[in-house]
Symmetry: C2
Subunit: 149 residues, 2 copies
């Protein structure tokens, strides 16, 4: 499918995959720690970690020889998933936190609650889906990509 959203979901579209990435943002690096934090079955975790390493989202670094053990760290490509994770967080906070949000994201640079928003890189205003549309890019195959609105 000639769509960057579909291609992104091919890599990170499974439920567990994005939770593994979330834990990596929280500083989790070791297999046992992922298992403990996520309550994920080891065989599923193993498959997800392998896929994320294969696609360059995580890198595996050996930290012990006997037995061989690896740590998993976000690559630059993995760190660029931050907006995806945060966009999911914001939506979940808005619609699935009846008892109050579990966690609040702080912005160290300004010292305030981050209250993340998606803004236009040109004018800085918040992006509203009704005020955007898509035009064909250099990689377009479809003659007329649909509106996003």
């Amino acid at each position: 499918m000639n769509c960057s959203i579909a291609r992104a979901l091919d890599v990170i579209g499974e439920w567990w995959t994005l939770l593994v990435v979330r834990e990596a943002f929280r500083g989790v690096r070791r297999f046992d720690a992922f298992v403990e934090r996520l309550g994920i079955a080891p065989n599923i975790l193993s498959a997800r970690l392998k896929k994320l390493v294969r696609h360059g989202v995580l890198e595996a670094r050996k930290y012990a020889d006997h037995p061989e053990r690896f740590e998993y760290r976000l690559t630059a490509k993995g760190r660029q998933l931050f907006p995806v994770i945060i966009a999911l967080l914001v939506w979940g906070d808005r619609w699935y936190a009846e008892e109050g949000v579990p966690a609040v994201l702080m912005h160290d640079a300004c010292g305030h609650v981050a209250a993340p928003r998606l803004s236009c890189g040109h004018c800085g205003e918040i992006l509203d889906p009704r005020e955007t549309h898509a035009v064909p890019g250099p990689g377009a195959r479809d003659p007329a990509p649909s509106l996003i609105a």
Copy 2:
């Protein structure tokens, strides 16, 4: 799991589900149009649409009686998934568009390429994962939520 990201993924974490939402943003409303645009099996589409209606992301509106036919439209809750879709788009464009991006998002309000970014709602600066951390919110159960860094 006491985490807004996990709760969000519970609803929209399946690959097809977010592509259905993407098509809804593009103005697709009818069952046959979703099938045609996505190449999705009708039984899978039917299950995904039902789930999205049940969770209030889409609403079903009858548009024909004989036979009964429904249109599916984004609710306010569904439209608030825009940042998730766009964050996926940006990441896919960056890493999976070797032949050029399939589509470019324009910001009608300012007339320029949107170049979407995630910014701090307080200071307006781009949010960098290394400059944020999480603190327990009113709904926290875990005594110390991990850093997002």
